[in-house]
């Protein structure tokens, strides 16, 4: 089977769609963008290249844990996200880093602003490292690794939003 070459524009369309779903809290639709073995990772601020089997991450979800995380954050009893934060993210500097065994490696930068009533704005700044696989004309996410550049979470506090 021959497949057309992946272009940055294709990947950007996918990432911008993903970003919109996350900002709109359409998390069940977002889950449809994941493979059945997807992982969702946020490494600790002092071990950005670490392995979650050896190092204490902020988040290291397998597919089932992602499902449970979404059940949790959509539940009104998830106090950290009730009322829901408003978020707005900008995704840019999208780069295709290569393709290995059908896995497309993508890097992108992001800024995600988080607003809660009476609270100072939270600015999550960092880069996304994706492993994507083809899904027809579009893609699915096999791994999303979110590198937060802050030296410590500090005033960002918790990561109860989906980044």
């Amino acid at each position: 089977m021959t497949q057309s070459k992946v272009t940055r524009a294709d990947v950007e369309d996918f990432l911008f769609h993903e970003a919109a779903l996350l900002d709109e809290w359409k998390l069940n639709e977002w889950q449809e963008l994941l493979t059945d073995d997807a992982t969702y990772l946020i490494p600790p601020n002092d071990d950005l290249d670490g392995d979650y089997r050896k190092s204490l991450f902020i988040i290291a979800d397998d597919r089932e844990r992602i499902r449970q995380r979404i059940i949790r954050v959509l539940d009104p009893n998830c106090h950290a996200e009730h009322p829901k934060s408003r978020t707005q993210r900008i995704v840019g500097n999208v780069r295709l880093l290569g393709e290995e065994n059908g896995v497309i490696l993508v890097a992108a930068n992001f800024i995600c602003y988080r607003y809660r009533r009476y609270e100072r704005v939270g600015q999550y700044v960092g880069n996304y490292r994706y492993k994507l696989v083809r899904n027809g004309e579009s893609f699915l996410i096999r791994e999303k690794r979110i590198v937060i550049q802050a030296n410590e979470l500090g005033q960002l506090g918790s990561v109860s939003i989906m980044l």
Binding site: Y52, S55, L56, R72, N77, G157
Partner: protein
């Protein structure tokens, strides 16, 4: 009579806390002098410094320090402050160094703190004595089983005496390791909470809040096949009975029969079928080494231990070492690590870390809701001057053993805190 911040009337069963303690700048200034300068404060764990020259820099009780293993292998704690004009002499978070170099005028210190070199030292008079200009240290620096603490008070009792009965509970945590060696794992969680630091003390041991604050965690556990229902016995809010234990000197712990699974060594379905055999092996090793009774204590009980004033060791879904320090009356900085046995297998280590994340930390399924609860308290306390007292009498009429879901242990903290604040 010094001012009291509590109304404590055991006869009537009344305990009230003056909410000013969480909002007053004056109280915070007094705490610096009467609490944080008069107690033993956790600095770090020896396992963070594996080789000679290994160092980490951090703020301990607001003080920038260098926690370092010197060339002789001795663990040291220096103030990270040049004796010349006061600059930090080390800006790196961690690393390995024989010397610390002040970038301002180039003074150089050995990792044992001695002042080794001063550029152009011929310009000084004979009164200038390098031997008196080693990096300053906290007045006292001692360890219990590789948990290192400092004190700014030269007159304070020795650490082991200060820790008192808390060592029984530290020993229980350390007994997880066949070689009696635990280590801090890589990956530090550092986050701020917009609340007074003492609210974290309360929250860390308050089992009353679990069903309401952590409803979604209970739901997650149920979804994962771990059903938790409170027992029928009157007055219990948790699935199993647990106690609040006074350990003296303002320290206290909960001591609970486990209901939530433990990587050491109580299997739950969340860990997966494939983990069963290894957890059984871990348990068997505990029994062989410690005997049945103690092994069951290690494997099937959990505890949240507070070492006054600001160290918490949660030995629950995993082991956390957590410390926090005020940055203003309405804000604290939290630092948390995971602790595990040094000889743990790769699979057991991965399970320990995963179990940690099911509950604890800024991305966990429980801690973010704790943080939210504490921030809601701090926001609500803006009305403190017109709604002055927090009601903390829960369980006060109970004789004998005290429940983890009552407020006995919180009262222990507040009485001790109040006594220290009342001292001159």
């Amino acid at each position: 009579m010094p001012r009291s911040y509590v109304v404590d009337d055991p006869e009537k069963g009344v305990f009230l806390l003056d909410r000013e303690v969480h909002v007053s700048e004056e109280v915070l200034r007094e705490e610096m002098r009467k609490i944080f300068a008069k107690t033993w404060i956790y600095v770090g764990h020896g396992s963070e410094l594996k080789k000679n020259g290994d160092f980490v820099t951090r703020r301990v009780a607001g003080r920038p320090v260098i926690f370092v293993r010197d060339q002789k292998g001795e663990v040291q704690c220096h103030f990270n402050t040049c004796r010349h004009r006061g600059a930090l002499v080390c800006a790196d978070r961690q690393g390995n160094a024989k010397r610390f170099f002040c970038v301002y005028h180039g003074w150089i210190y050995g990792n044992d703190g001695d002042l080794q070199r001063v550029p152009g030292d011929e310009a000084y008079t004979p009164a200038f004595d390098k031997d008196t200009l080693a990096l300053k240290r906290p007045a006292r620096f001692e360890q219990y089983r590789d948990f290192w603490f400092m004190s700014l008070d030269p007159e304070i009792v020795p650490l082991t005496e200060y820790l008192g009965r808390t060592t029984e509970y530290l020993d229980l945590v350390i007994d997880q390791s066949p070689s009696a060696k635990m280590e801090i794992l890589p990956g530090t969680q550092e986050y701020d909470v917009g609340a007074n630091w003492k609210l974290m003390v309360e929250n860390s041991v308050d089992d009353y809040h679990l069903p309401s604050t952590h409803a979604t965690w209970l739901n997650f556990m149920a979804n994962s096949g771990v059903k938790m229902e409170p027992p029928k016995e009157k007055g219990l809010v948790l699935p199993t009975k647990g106690y609040a234990i006074d350990l003296g000197n303002g320290h206290f712990t909960t001591d609970n029969v486990n209901f939530r699974g433990r990587p050491v060594a109580a299997w739950i379905s969340l860990y997966g079928e494939e983990a069963k055999a290894e957890i059984a092996e871990i348990k068997a090793e505990l029994v062989e080494r410690l005997g049945e009774e103690r092994a069951n204590r290690v494997a099937h009980t959990n505890r949240n231990l507070v070492i006054f004033p600001n160290l918490v060791i949660n030995d629950g879904s995993s082991v956390t070492v957590r410390t926090f320090y005020p940055e203003g009356v309405g804000k604290m900085h939290v630092t948390a690590w995971a602790l595990g046995p040094v000889e743990e297998s790769e699979s057991a280590r991965a399970r320990r870390l995963d179990a940690f994340l099911t509950f604890y930390g800024p991305g966990g399924f429980a801690t973010p809701d704790d943080v939210e609860a504490l921030e809601l308290v701090q926001q609500g306390l803006a009305n403190w001057s017109d709604d002055r007292w927090s009601e903390m009498s829960r369980g006060m009429g109970r004789e004998g053993e005290q429940l983890n879901s009552d407020e006995h242990h919180l009262r222990i903290f507040w009485r001790h805190w109040n006594d220290m604040m009342g001292a001159e």
